[in-house]
Symmetry: C2
Subunit: 667 residues, 2 copies
Amino acid sequence: MKPVEGRKRIVIEEVQPQVNCGRYPVKRILGDVVTITCAAFGDGHDHVAARVLYRQEGEPRWRIATLAPLGNDLWSASFIVDQLGPWQYTIQAWIDHFDTWCDDLKKRLAAQPDPNNPAPGAQPQDIPLALRSGALLLEQTAARAKGPDAKQLEDIVTSLRWMADQNAALYENPITEEIRALAARYPDLSFVTKFERDLILWVDRERARYSTWYELFPRSASPDPARHGTLNDVAARIPEIAAMGFDVLYMPPIHPIGVAFRKGPNNSVTAQPGDYGSPWAIGAAEGGHKAILPELGTVADFKNLVATAQKNSMELALDIAFQCSPDHPWVKEHPEWFIIRPDGSIQYAENPPKKYQDIYPLNFESPDWRGLWEELHSVFAYWIRHGVHIFRVDNPHTKALPFWEWCIAEIHKDHPEVIFLAEAFTRPHVMYSLAKAGFSQSYTYFTWRTGKDELQQYFEEITKPPVTDFFHPNIWPNTPDILHASLQTGGRPAFMQRFILAATLGANYGIYGPAFELCEGRPAKPNSEEYLDSEKYQLRHWDRSASHSIAPLITTVNKIRRENPALQNDLSLHFHPVDNSQILCYSKSSTKDGIENTILVAINIDPAHEQSGWIELDLKHLGIAHDQVFDVEDLLTGTHYQWNGRSNYVALRPDVMPAHILRVTRK
Amino acid sequence: MKPVEGRKRIVIEEVQPQVNCGRYPVKRILGDVVTITCAAFGDGHDHVAARVLYRQEGEPRWRIATLAPLGNDLWSASFIVDQLGPWQYTIQAWIDHFDTWCDDLKKRLAAQPDPNNPAPGAQPQDIPLALRSGALLLEQTAARAKGPDAKQLEDIVTSLRWMADQNAALYENPITEEIRALAARYPDLSFVTKFERDLILWVDRERARYSTWYELFPRSASPDPARHGTLNDVAARIPEIAAMGFDVLYMPPIHPIGVAFRKGPNNSVTAQPGDYGSPWAIGAAEGGHKAILPELGTVADFKNLVATAQKNSMELALDIAFQCSPDHPWVKEHPEWFIIRPDGSIQYAENPPKKYQDIYPLNFESPDWRGLWEELHSVFAYWIRHGVHIFRVDNPHTKALPFWEWCIAEIHKDHPEVIFLAEAFTRPHVMYSLAKAGFSQSYTYFTWRTGKDELQQYFEEITKPPVTDFFHPNIWPNTPDILHASLQTGGRPAFMQRFILAATLGANYGIYGPAFELCEGRPAKPNSEEYLDSEKYQLRHWDRSASHSIAPLITTVNKIRRENPALQNDLSLHFHPVDNSQILCYSKSSTKDGIENTILVAINIDPAHEQSGWIELDLKHLGIAHDQVFDVEDLLTGTHYQWNGRSNYVALRPDVMPAHILRVTRK
């Protein structure tokens, strides 16, 4: 079957960026310069013109960015995204007959034989006829133009025809760059080709790419070890956490905790009276996902906490864990949202031989999946109404991906500022799919990547396109669920190392705070990643004034992050070779207002020994000449070094300070 | 907005092969095993099952190939394409609850505490309840099954429930591999996910991938130098061309040649009486693209030629050049198919200062583009009716790409066997786009790739996916338009070298025959790629019995190609390092009926000097152990060599024989 219009002669392909052939949005941050590239070409030798059409979703008219040719039929254009939310972009390309004609005329004029000195064999180039062809094209252009432009184009038409009438032997080229530019403003789009798909782009706020998270259990926030912590206790601690340089305060679930099958300390299956249970066993007589555990306080206390955070330039992140204790109101009200076993009972979480009888998973194949989706969505909506704009979602990979795609889009319709962090530690396709479905940030495998090669390889994957087009990593050296073996055995140096890696490799990073600051490394049992006496099951009192605390280092590094835009992005991450398998070296850079900021990190990842070695800097990447002397300042100590050329020596003692964080100054 | 069915929990992505996200068909050859890979995964830990649906376009029902897991959520399946023409394929994936349950039961049975010897802390695993869950799933399976399978499934249900009723302390696993396989035949597709697109696949016949072309000008086919050659003369020559091992005989346009602005010998602008003009200046009083130049013969002669070719296991390829001489009937009948200049005249081909007044290009922006498309299509249809199934299309890149996409699809509807060779020497995107639009084969840049590195780099590009998914190269060392400088200066050794490269690097190759065999290297003028006294403008008499002819080499190599399936594909091409920049070494292989055929070529590309060097064979690629002695037979000479391990020495004299074509035998 013939196309409706067979004269659309341009092919447009290789449009970048695109995620899954346009199935999912490309992600960018407010204020980003978005660069679009594509291939666009037609048959024959006619000139092609092309442009990007882009707009915020819902804008009635496309905005336009002219594509510039890169050679070999490739094109590039950029635009700035100046609003949060969904954008669209696509490509238009067409044959530019007037531009083709301009070059044809130029060639003719150059080849036209001089009547006084004709080259042998040179033929007349039919200039008058060519001028009339051009006049015709400009006449059509004038008809598309408006106001003074139309008049000006008409005058040029008249002048070209007058020239043609002269029938001269030689002509000056009447076409100036100004005329070409004027004509280009009114292209002939009769046979324009539009790329087959309007691609989608999602614009997040800055904090989706650059954020600094502190996790604490409100249950342990009381200054009095004998008392259950409250939201007010958390509010009281906010100024000191803000002073450490954190901008997101994240709390595990704050909802009523189930009584049935409640877990005791160290995950014991039988709780004693007075045990508080796990905050992730959500729901009790007092309510479910929209209620607050009475011990923590009231809705009014929560509002006060939000306000206190705001006053201290911090944001609150809530943990949304879509699972229920047997006492959750949904269990009675909506048993159809759970899996019913042949004996009529509700299926609890199991991974034989393990039983988690305190947890009922939701059934995303429920006949009432629509009702379930609405209710889950309303949980986010509820807390957004209470001032929360960041959610850490627990185990999103055990809930249906289509649900997330719908739910996040639905929330984002009214609240494009909301950030969702996916707490998924699962297979790579699923991790990435959650990001594609809409999660703004994601936990990563960093926690288990401890060797030099595996760290470098993993970060090269997650900080480069195509992954960066949809995935923002958030780097955690620990979580309440993961105390990695390296922290169990490495002592304080290991905590310093893993902290510096997280905070400088990742523009987003976070720590499960009190345990991390105080270098808590005792596992529940050998070969376990669970903490001993985990806050998940009991209150803990943390002596934050202990002398071995690494809080001062954390404070310093967060300040460095804030003062150096280089550390506020991941895309610029670049590794430099070091001749020691225990030392990593990498740089990040950023340009703002024309000033380039470059940070170079050299870190010893061996917690037990001093390591030294020669860094072979990729000077070209750093924009430094091979024989240049340049200044590096260690921002951890304030010491300046004069470095010279590519080979530079470092020696790092893990017990003193395992890393240099160097600001590079090019003279 | 919620999806229609929110319980489709699987994501399918990374489906391979795909060309431009499914916009164009993937190409394969009749009998090929097509391997499809994809990623398919869901949330949580439920087991996933997946399959490829495929069919010839128009078949009412999909055929099914079960996808096997490759690990990490990747899957693979293969099927054989057993009919020419268009095929479709897509992916289905779903949660396999029964399979999930089988593994769950296995874990429970393993964890069930032995009542006589209970492990400390072991809990009962609720086996009876689990058996009832499985019975429920199998009951649903039975309801989907038919005949004896349904009965058998119902019996298993009964037996599972009977077991559950026993309430035993320990159980044997009742689920056998046979039961799993039986249940898998009746999957629950209620919430099946289908990949968002039906992908398309085009199946060509073998000759699209493996063909051997000989080009000659019928005007020079007469044994009598004084007489214009005829189609009958060509027919008389066919047995000897077939004996040389060619299977496609390709002739430049055979249509009436225009009189207006006819070109004389050596492209002189003024033809003399008796000059025959260029066959590409198509159309005269006697007719256009559906007529035969009277000097060549009649339609009956043409039919005889087709029959003679067939008798000799050859096919005729016609040259279709969509352009007109000023005398073409279309010019009078359809002036609207051409570009009309402001003075009312028709625009001839021009590239200032050059004028080609004997050629009128067609205007693909004609208001009557539909009429033009139909007429051009009818040219192919006409010659197909006269027994032609291969077309070499002249300069397809100067005709609109949407036209080709429509026209080739239209022809292929009734004639999927038709092969189109694109004679495009233009920018890479346009070359590839013609292949995507439907051209079966394409000329290449080989003619201008003479150095070792550029040859290797280019062939690595065009013989690997994604290019091989849509592009079949056809390798020509010369054409009537291109006598490369290396052939002008390199003498007979250069012709031998370029021939062997073409015939062994490309499963499809061709030569502009008589000129090539006889090592015709004289250019029209210095720095020109035009032949002196080109057949494009005059008759030539070729003395094919001349002693310097390389016809014997050509015959030998064509025989080697025919006898060695390794040389009948491009995908297996693999280069091996040689420590001499003038020697290339590469292998190809093929497995047919379980027997592997491997050919290794070592070739000196310096026409002036003997070159020798050490080949470092990629033994792993060849399937040879590092210390193995193996036999190689030079099929050009019949000499056997014992080679040993990876380093092997070659010395090649270009004047004697610039290459070894070695058949590798693994003991």
